[in-house]
């Protein structure tokens, strides 16, 4: 496997988001909240996106949320990602109120649904760990068709 067959990893030196990634090696999923207006800020920044304050504090997420949307990537020109297709990219709404991009792993792509509860699952590398997610709910195969997905998903969303 050539050196290009490696997942692109985040940099710890990027000034806004470096502290987020630095905490991942200890399996902490961090997010920010504004001390002045309590706005949740994510992706991490140096200022509050609601009021402009620079008084942000870090919190640690409990690591659970709900799949807001997802897609199954079947084609990618990048050497690493082309070696792992098909894979699931998702947006997860965390219980603390932030939305993050991630991969849903340890399940077949056809079992992934909007509205499923998921929990962080750390994939460890040398200097960082990547917060991937796994399903908390048992997969009910009866929800496989598009129409069933729509109706059942809506109930979950409203619950």
């Amino acid at each position: 496997m050539s050196s290009t067959h490696i997942r692109p990893l985040p940099s710890l030196d990027e000034l806004d988001t470096g502290p987020f990634w630095a905490a991942t090696s200890g399996h902490e999923l961090r997010y920010q909240r504004c001390i002045e207006c309590v706005q949740v800020v994510f992706y991490p920044r140096k200022h509050c996106t609601n009021c402009g304050s620079s008084m942000l504090e870090w919190h640690v997420s409990a690591g659970e949320g709900v799949i807001y949307s997802f897609t199954v990537i079947r084609r990618n020109g990048h050497p690493y990602f082309s070696s792992i297709v098909p894979y699931v990219v998702a947006l997860v709404d965390m219980d603390e109120g932030f939305r993050m991009m991630t991969n849903i792993v340890q399940t077949a792509p056809e079992n992934v649904r909007i509205g499923q509860r998921v929990r962080v699952f750390w994939e460890d590398y040398d200097t960082v760990s990547l917060p991937m997610f796994v399903q908390l709910d048992a997969v009910d195969n009866s929800t496989n068709s598009e129409s069933a997905e729509g109706s059942i998903g809506m109930k979950e969303a409203m619950a």
Partner: protein
């Protein structure tokens, strides 16, 4: 309804080929500029405002002026992807209205196809991670089409939209493309085996790229170029063609936020501005040139512009409602669109060009005497960070 007559599109040119050998993007831009000025009956040195989308790199302001040999008093390099040209048209009208310029030139040239840029699924990851967004998102392997796929998936979930309804958009634009000789030749030149009409089943049977979007839900990747000349009311009488007056414009930016609705784009804001300025409603639009990077882009944009209610786009586009020869709805992308005519990376200039053809009565899928044509560009990545530019043209 009185049409604002401050500035009009008076010259257009679209480069006719989709595969361009042996020409640089700059040469294509200059050639299109010359022919658009000729179309208008204006000269090279009449241009006093220059607009560039920086599609060929940084420093576009001075690079473009120097390459063309122009000395613009107004230079604008607003670069918001495919919607740049709708922003440029809006800015040009403002500059002209303020008396800063009389003749504005917009150009575009790209050899994306010949350079083999896999725009939708290229998986390019910047080696030098330079910003917080890349640093958060690069590890997950999201390709451009994946953004649109996540929006489509969410739209299906919230509103019951079906893959068949999305496919109908591709079927309608292909129907229009089959009537456009440049598009038909282009499909053949691009190596597309079937250049005739498509059925919904054809779209659904095409390969899945990023669920729920198939290959035929995605735009082409072509070479191409074009130019647009905008003139003030003082200059218009000395031009050759029927002017397409800029009756209203709107601009907005959208991006993913915690808790935001992925099925809504910034077109809600840009559309409201444009319709208010033109003092008309979506019902008054005869031709809707809607950026069609993917079928879902069209469906969500039509809803956001108010052609139908949010969530009802699937039923609205079904059964060929937006075909030019269907009298009910506005005609959609009558040149064949990015889905079936051309998409060199930033398609916004072709939306303006085809809208002007309709105003002039020169489209290959011509609507009877259109009073208002709308061009809406979506730049960037739908539902992620994106730009919406709406321009309403009137006779």
């Amino acid at each position: 309804m009185t049409v604002h007559k401050d500035a009009a599109i008076v010259g257009i040119y679209e480069y006719p080929y989709r595969v361009i050998d042996g020409k640089s993007p700059w040469e294509i831009k200059a050639e299109c500029a010359r022919l658009a000025l000729e179309d208008a009956g204006l000269g090279w040195q009449d241009v006093d405002a220059l607009y560039d989308a920086a599609e060929n790199g940084m420093g576009a302001g001075f690079t473009a002026a120097e390459y063309f040999g122009l000395h613009p008093k107004v230079m604008d390099t607003t670069a918001v992807g495919g919607s740049s040209f709708e922003f440029h048209a809006a800015h040009a009208r403002r500059a002209i209205r303020e008396g800063k310029a009389n003749v504005a030139l917009l150009t575009y040239g790209s050899t994306s196809r010949s350079q083999s840029n896999a725009i939708g699924t290229g998986g390019r990851v910047s080696e030098r991670i330079s910003n917080p967004v890349n640093n958060m998102e690069n590890p997950w392997g999201l390709v451009l089409v994946g953004n649109y796929a996540m929006a489509a998936r969410r739209h299906m979930y919230q509103y019951g939209t079906t893959p068949e309804q999305l496919a109908d958009i591709a079927v309608t634009t292909r129907y229009h493309a089959t009537r456009n000789p440049d598009a038909v030749r282009g499909l053949a030149d691009l190596g597309i085996h079937r250049t005739g009409e498509l059925s919904v089943d054809d779209v659904l049977a095409s390969k899945m790229v990023a669920d729920p979007l198939h290959v035929l839900d995605c735009c082409l990747i072509s070479d191409g170029g074009g130019a647009v000349v905008i003139a003030g009311s003082g200059v218009v009488p000395s031009t050759r063609r029927c002017p397409a007056w800029i009756a209203g414009t709107g601009e907005a930016i959208g991006y993913r936020e915690n808790g935001s609705d992925l099925t809504v784009t910034a077109a809600t804001v840009s559309g409201t501005q444009a319709f208010r300025e033109a003092s008309i409603r979506p019902d008054d639009i005869d031709v809707a040139m809607i950026y069609d990077s993917f079928t879902i882009t069209v469906l969500m944009t039509l809803e956001d512009l108010g052609f139908c209610k949010k969530g009802e786009g699937g039923a609205y586009v079904a059964n060929g409602y937006l075909r030019y020869d269907n009298l009910g709805g506005p005609a959609l992308n009558t040149d064949g669109g990015g889905l079936s005519s051309n998409h060199p990376g930033m398609r916004g200039i072709f939306l303006l060009i085809e809208a002007v053809r309709q105003i002039r009565g020169e489209s290959t899928s011509q609507v009877d005497n259109p009073a208002y044509c709308l061009a809406h560009g979506n730049g960037g990545w739908l539902t992620s960070r994106h730009a919406s530019g709406t321009v309403i043209l009137a006779r």
